[in-house]
Amino acid sequence: MIEIDGSEGEGGGQILRSALALSLCTAQPFRIFNIRARRPKPGLMRQHLTAVQAAATIGHATVVGAEVGSCELTFRPGTVTAGDYDFAIGTAGSCTLVLQTILPPLLTAKGRSRVRITGGTHNKAAPPVDFLQRAFLPLIERMGPRVTLELVRHGFYPRGGGEIVVTVSPTSRLERLSIPERGALVSREADAYVAGVPLHVASRELQVVGRMLSWPEDVLHVRGLPGDMGPGNALTISVGHEQVIEVFTAFGEKGVSAEAVATSAAAQTQAYLAGGAAVGPHLADQLLLPMALSGGGTFSTTSVTDHFRSQVVVTQRFLSIEPTIDGRGSIIIVRL
């Protein structure tokens, strides 16, 4: 059985989620120990447990050790079954992280799936729904399957209560993806969401984005949401090139000024635009696993993070991949 030391690399929940997805896709059982061993509260937390349960549900897996606080888990996958699923996540845990766990196996499952997930949709430390919709899923679709993601309701931290509905029309085999360059700029957009927070917060954020990126007002959108979804504030900046769309995000929180929130998102965007790479670090993390499943691929990125390296290590436990990473100034080429 595949044994994974959960304290290796960045040592967080990501190792677990990737292992679950890979286990389902490759039909290989695994045991993970030292789960989040170096964190202040070690072991499985509720949001990880939800991911384990969701993975077990779609893959008819037998699981040992699926409890809050458990530092060891054994997961034996059965057959991945397409279908209608409904998952609810507590503590405003991210819908997108659960989706990340179960989407890869559904991409090549036998039949269409419809997955409804409730929880947080715009959380710190998780890819926001906008990122999946605009940046990640279009690339997945280029690999063969059709995936739609509908954001039914926003769910901000700490209250959650958001909802997404994802439909997957699978493909029998994922095609290789190659994004060596991003191409010419074709679209740009900034959206400032506010719920239960004064509208001027959104306007101030967009002013900063407009000034820092020298963008005209017609690409800056205030998105007012019903107050009872709040309190919540998120700023997303999307830049589309011929080959790829990238999305950069920042979240408002009490005690952090609108200007500071906007500066953070705009600075990420500036850095990306200034370089020539196709994908930013977050998108690079997300692409590794589907690319490995498709048997190869290539992309250029701005930097290789520790997070990315951990992902490579976990993926190698299930699949024989030997990524090569070639630096070429601010553009790094990753080949699988």
Binding site: G90, T91, V197
Partner: protein, 538 residues
């Protein structure tokens, strides 16, 4: 194991409308937001005025914790600050709840609800009506969105907490040391006895029976037990000590139970009695086997019903005291022989502790010598020490088989006191030790348990028939207890003197003693000498 939380809705802490409520710490909601605490079910108790709030909490918890089933329970004491009502309501709730401790772990959330409710929940949890641990939640240091504060689970079984257990062990060590007057005794059997006494003394108000020879420290221990309970605020009243062997006749009844004016000849004023004096406190009855049958009967009633009749009174008086009894006798044998009431014995030997004689605790002589020296230093404000050689010599003698220590620790204490008193310049020399050794040896050579050995030489005794010895021993006993020859005569010839025209008890007694070459003075001389020893010893 499923987690089930039972708690009151916090009418102000949990309140809050609008999006702003998510930026505020709400104990009941926040509890359901902890990443490391999955609550499978929440039993939320609320009062009628807070119905709306309760419904909102159900909704909010469903959002942040879809894993949690929330059950609302209307618990509606008319006055949420009335202890009796709240306790009653919660007690009913607990009695009606189907606890499944095999599958569910219960947590009583005591952060919300009135203080009265918190106290009631604590009491009902402690008494296991709620088979639960306590769950306490606390706000974050700074209130902001997503700061859900912290929580702590408190299991009321304190033995599970290492530090607390260590603290109790330390406290117990302190109190056993206290019972031993700080003497670091080494005798394992004695130390075990003291440990047991400590545990019983702290927890029980039942009578204690201390069995051991004279001078083994019964009286000292009884008074230390009282002091310990006083320190722990377990007794409020006084400590009263009485030696039953000194109680005789009317005086015995009156001393213990009191009398009313005119109850007997000489009862010119009312007297409360020692047992009354010890109300709320403790009575040490030493040599309880010497108590007369009437006193035994009255004592039994006093222990069992905490009520008794003072002499001459038809009105009962009340006194609630804890009894410590001391004895050197085999009370079981006394009970079989009809000298001691079976029922009283059954009542007082609930907790029986045996104090060994000094002879059986030779390893404790050294720490006791040190203790006695310190005590002398404290009481006389002059430091007294042994010379190294003198100390070695005394300890060698004291722990040798030669030393009989018939008077036990009281005798050891007296020996040290004598040497300390005679020590010039605070030094006990080898000469002083030698002197004391010969003094002790002489005492042990002459003090024998048989009264006849004290009044007759071995040669003389050898010439007396066993038949006569039996009678003579009893006669000598009576003489030594009496104040005068006439009194002894009256006791000895109490029946026959009534049939005589001429009463001359003293003469009859004198003639009887003369048959064994004895007289009143010889018998009394011995008694005095023994009496003097006791004076110097104490």
């Amino acid at each position: 194991m499923k987690n089930v939380v039972i708690g009151f809705l916090g009418s102000s802490l949990d309140a809050g409308g609008g999006p702003g409520r998510w930026e505020k710490w709400r104990p009941t909601v926040s509890l359901c937001q902890h990443e490391d605490l999955l609550i499978d079910r929440l039993e939320l108790l609320y009062a009628r005025p807070h119905q709306r709030l309760a419904e909102q909490l159900v909704e909010d918890i469903a959002t942040v914790s879809p894993e949690t089933t929330v059950n609302l329970h209307l618990v509606d004491p008319r006055d949420p600050w009335d202890f009796q009502e709240v306790y009653g309501a919660l007690h009913d709730y607990a009695r009606g709840y189907k606890f499944d401790v095999e599958r569910e772990r219960y947590l009583m959330h005591i952060t919300t609800g009135t203080h009265v409710a918190q106290i009631c929940m604590f009491l009902l949890t402690e008494t296991r009506y709620f088979p639960a641990s306590l769950l306490q939640s606390a706000p974050p240091r700074r209130q902001r969105a997503g700061s859900i504060g912290s929580y702590a689970v408190i299991d009321l079984d304190v033995s599970k907490y290492d530090q607390l257990a260590a603290r109790f062990a330390r406290e117990q060590a302190d109190s056993t040391a206290f019972l031993k007057s700080g003497i670091a005794t080494r005798n394992a059997a004695f130390n075990r006895t003291i440990d047991a006494i400590e545990r019983v003394a702290i927890r029980s108000r039942s009578p204690l029976l201390l069995v051991g020879p004279t001078g083994a420290g019964k009286s000292q221990l009884a008074s230390r037990i009282y002091d310990l309970k006083k320190l722990r605020h377990q007794v409020a009243g006084e400590f009263v000590e009485v030696n039953c062997a000194t109680l005789r006749g009317d005086a015995a009844m009156s001393t213990l139970f009191g009398h009313v004016k005119g109850a007997f000849t000489g009862a010119q004023t009312e007297r409360a009695g020692l047992l009354k004096k010890a109300h709320g406190g403790m009575v040490f009855l030493d040599e309880i086997g010497e108590l007369g049958p009437d006193e035994q009967a009255m004592l039994l009633r006093a222990i069992e019903e905490k009520r008794f009749f003072p002499m001459g009174s038809d009105k009962e008086t009340q006194s609630d005291f804890q009894l410590i009894a001391g004895t050197n006798r085999d009370l079981r044998a006394d009970a079989r022989a009809g000298r001691f009431r079976e029922d009283l014995l059954a009542r007082i030997n609930h907790w029986t502790f045996r104090l060994p004689a000094l002879r059986d605790r030779l390893e404790d002589i050294e720490p006791n010598v040190d203790y006695e020296l310190e005590k002398h230093t404290r009481e006389s404000s002059t430091t007294v020490r042994f010379n190294a050689e003198a100390r070695r010599a005394f300890l060698k003698f004291a722990t040798s088989g030669v030393a009989e220590w018939t008077g036990n620790f009281r005798e050891l204490s007296a020996a040290i006191t004598r040497m300390a008193t005679l020590a010039d310049g605070g030094r006990i020399t080898e000469d002083l030790v030698a002197e004391e050794i010969s003094r002790l040896s002489e005492q042990w050579a002459t003090t024998h348990p048989d009264e006849l050995n004290e009044v007759l030489s071995d040669d003389a005794l050898a010439g007396i028939d066993l038949f006569d010895r039996v009678q003579l021993r009893e006669v000598v006993k009576v003489c030594r207890r009496a104040r005068s020859m006439a009194e002894a005569g009256r006791t000895l010839f109490g029946v026959s003197r009534g049939h005589r025209a001429k009463v001359n008890d003293s003469d009859r007694l004198r003639k009887y003693l003369a048959r064994f070459q004895l007289d009143w003075e010889t018998v009394n001389a011995n008694r005095d000498r023994i009496g003097n020893q006791f004076v110097t010893r104490s």
